[in-house]
């Protein structure tokens, strides 16, 4: 017992003196920012929060507990912001205790990943996606597959569909796209963060789906782009509404947001009309209360939060997003976001001058 106590004390002392040069602990400043929500942007948020703390000294925390958890936490007023991959519907907005604003922070895409050794540059059309994910095409060497990919020699392998078993924004974006391009899908499956899948195996999280695909030859599934890019997983080109087969990358994802974006930024940008756009793309948002004086919050707290968000939608922070494989906001969307930030008030007066 005594030895254990000595060991613990020594370790604690060592760490306190040696935390990588960071002198900031949660007790130092009175203003700290806590956010919780979507797992999709977590690597980006963790990195951005860290950089911001380095610049300003404000300690920040993010917990990837899921978009639903983020919305709930904001509703319960236990965080400064929530983070969600899907914007709140009108009904959900009415259930919040006060007015909420949405700030888009970055973009991501859903890539169609597959495991077929030797098969490169797979092309998928909306019809093929419907066929595969709904089970009408069950083998890779099906004539429909060959028609879209005449140069590829397909093996006589079964197609195994892999989907997300947990509720996820990635599923939301994918199903939103499928609903737009397939009547059969719209009827039978619909849109949502979790669905009643007609066929396939469910795996938990991006790592679960990616792991399952990489371990099963003939598997196909959908993964978040930031994950697929970082892990260098094989993915397909998807035909967009202009007929072009688009490779998902940061440019094509950002292109999907070009065009009309509403003032409150609540829009799904799947199946974009832009000819360069990757069709299965979407935003992720941070949500916060429009009126920041609630629950005993101080002006300093409100200012810290809004200033951070202002920094986040600016080009420096957006470059950070790109460095970890997220797509940045197009400049018109950043402007819209900044307008929204200027509408945030504390006791009726705008927080940002």
């Amino acid at each position: 017992m005594k030895n254990l106590l000595i060991l613990v004390t020594v370790l604690t002392l060592l760490v306190s003196c040696n935390s990588g040069g960071k002198k900031v602990t949660a007790n130092d400043k009175k203003v700290t920012i806590t956010a919780a929500g979507a797992t999709f942007p977590m690597p980006f948020y963790n990195l951005a929060f860290k950089k911001y703390t380095e610049i300003t000294g404000v300690p920040m925390t993010y917990g990837g507990i899921g978009s639903g958890g983020g919305i709930r936490s904001l509703q319960d007023k236990v965080v400064d912001f929530g983070a969600s991959d899907a914007f709140l519907s009108d009904k959900e907005l009415s259930e919040m205790p006060a007015a909420i604003v949405h700030i888009p922070t970055c973009m991501g895409a859903v890539v169609i990943a597959y495991n077929l050794p030797g098969v490169e540059n797979l092309k998928m059309t909306p019809e093929l996606l419907e066929n595969v994910f709904m089970g009408t095409v069950t083998k890779w060497n099906d004539p429909k597959m060959k028609a879209v990919n005449p140069d590829i020699k397909f093996p006589d392998t079964k197609i195994t569909v892999v989907y997300r078993s947990d509720g996820s924004g990635t599923t939301n974006i994918f199903s939103d796209y499928m609903t737009k391009v397939s009547n059969l899908w719209s009827e039978k499956v619909g849109t949502g963060k979790s669905l009643n899948w007609p066929i396939g195996i469910g795996a938990k999280g991006n790592p679960g789906v990616a792991g399952t695909i990489s371990q099963s030859v003939g598997a196909i599934g959908y993964i978040g782009s930031e994950y697929a890019f970082a892990q260098k997983i094989q993915y397909a080109m998807v035909q967009n509404s202009s007929g072009n087969f688009i490779n998902p990358d940061i440019k094509t994802v950002t292109s999907a947001a070009k065009g009309q974006i509403p003032a409150d930024t609540r829009v799904m940008v799947t199946n974009s009309s832009d000819p360069e756009a990757y069709p299965i793309s979407g935003f992720t948002w941070i949500i916060l209360y429009k009126e920041q004086s609630y629950n005993g919050r101080t002006l300093a707290q409100a200012e810290a939060g809004v200033k951070f968000l202002d920094w986040l939608v600016n080009s420096d922070a957006q470059a950070i997003a790109v460095s970890v494989n997220y797509a940045s906001l197009p400049s018109d969307v950043s402007s819209v976001a900044k307008n929204i930030l200027r509408s945030i008030t504390f006791n009726g007066k705008p927080v940002l001058k």
């Binding site: 017992m1 030895n3 254990l4 613990v8 370790l11 604690t12 060592l14 760490v15 306190s16 040696n18 935390s19 990588g20 960071k22 900031v24 602990t25 949660a26 007790n27 700290t32 806590t34 919780a36 797992t39 977590m42 690597p43 980006f44 963790n46 990195l47 929060f49 860290k50 703390t53 300690p59 920040m60 925390t61 993010y62 917990g63 990837g64 507990i65 958890g69 936490s73 319960d76 007023k77 236990v78 965080v79 999280g205 991006n206 790592p207 930031e226 994950y227 970082a230 892990q231 629950n295 950070i320 460095s323 970890v324």
Partner: protein, 300 residues
């Protein structure tokens, strides 16, 4: 004893000896079979995890995705460590234990002292049901009770509450069962000498049953060391080191979850798991040596 009255079973001495040897063989075979998955899992953790462990692992805070990505691209070890997780885990476990251990031992002793009463049976059954509550449900409960109402935000204390509820049934049951194995004569001798009740508990029962008690305590601490789900909804996590229990804190299992979900940091999952495993082993060895020193001479 007259030879004519030898009971029947002694005649069957060969059969009984054969069964005896067979059973011993079975026990050994099954014990070896038990060891097999253990060795496989432990070696996989060591092989995959040892590469990342260095001094910095213990004293630096967790790396971000970019650092990990560049390290992998350059084939170096990922920088940083899990100091924020280690200290967070210490904080949360110490607070949980402070709540659960005294309560658990007291309740276990109560059950032992009040055997057979209807209230005790009901209490025991309730304890066993509490044992089966999934950790994520306890996280939800602690979110509702503590995060929303007490600390008004995610906090280490909320995490400790959830974990202490998880520890409680194990400590209670192992305390009661340990107490039952203490020969009654010891207890009665103490009472016969006029020892006050609380001294009987503190000076006789607890020291005698120390080995069993510490097994239960250790088991419960090992259980909560690796729990992720309840901490996700209570302590939330943090990239910095935090000593304030009313604020969000990191913990090793939370870091493991973050590493698992980040495409660049999967290697750190194994290193953190290795850390937890060695930590539990150390706790077990410590507790074993403590009990060995205190064993009263009832066993050879």
């Amino acid at each position: 004893m007259s030879v004519n009255n030898i009971p029947a079973f002694i005649d069957n001495i060969d059969g009984r000896n054969k069964k005896n040897k067979l059973f011993l063989g079975l026990v050994i075979a099954l014990s070896v079979l038990t060891v097999l998955p253990i060795v496989l899992i432990v070696s996989k953790i060591i092989i995959n995890g040892i590469g990342q462990i260095n001094f910095n692992f213990f004293v630096q805070t967790s790396p971000d995705s970019l650092q990990a990505m560049s390290a992998i691209a350059n084939q170096e070890t990922i920088p940083g460590g899990i100091a924020n997780g280690i200290l967070g885990t210490f904080l949360i476990v110490i607070v949980s234990s402070a709540m659960a251990i005294p309560a658990g031992i007291m309740i276990g002793i109560y059950l032992y002292e009040n055997q057979g009463r209807r209230y005790s049976n009901f209490l025991r059954s309730t304890t066993e049901i509490l044992q089966g509550v999934p950790s994520i449900v306890l996280g939800i409960i602690s979110y509702l009770w503590v995060v929303k109402n007490i600390t008004n935000g995610f906090s280490a204390f909320a995490g400790s509450v959830a974990l202490s509820i998880m520890m409680l049934p194990m400590i209670i049951r192992s305390t009661e069962e340990t107490m039952k194995m203490i020969p009654n004569e010891i207890r009665e001798a103490a009472f016969a000498m006029g020892t006050p009740y609380h001294k009987v508990i503190l000076r006789i029962l607890i020291p005698t049953g120390f080995s069993g008690l510490s097994t239960g305590i250790l088991l419960s601490i090992s259980r909560i060391l690796g729990e992720t789900a309840p901490l996700m909804m209570t302590a939330l996590g943090s990239t910095i080191i935090n000593y304030n229990i009313t604020k969000p804190t990191s913990a090793v299992p939370l870091l493991i979850w973050e590493f698992y979900n980040d495409p660049n940091m999967v290697k750190l999952v194994w290193s953190s798991a290795l850390f937890l495993m060695i930590f539990v082993l150390t706790l077990n060895i410590l507790s074993g040596s403590l009990s060995a020193k205190r064993k009263t001479g009832r066993k050879k």
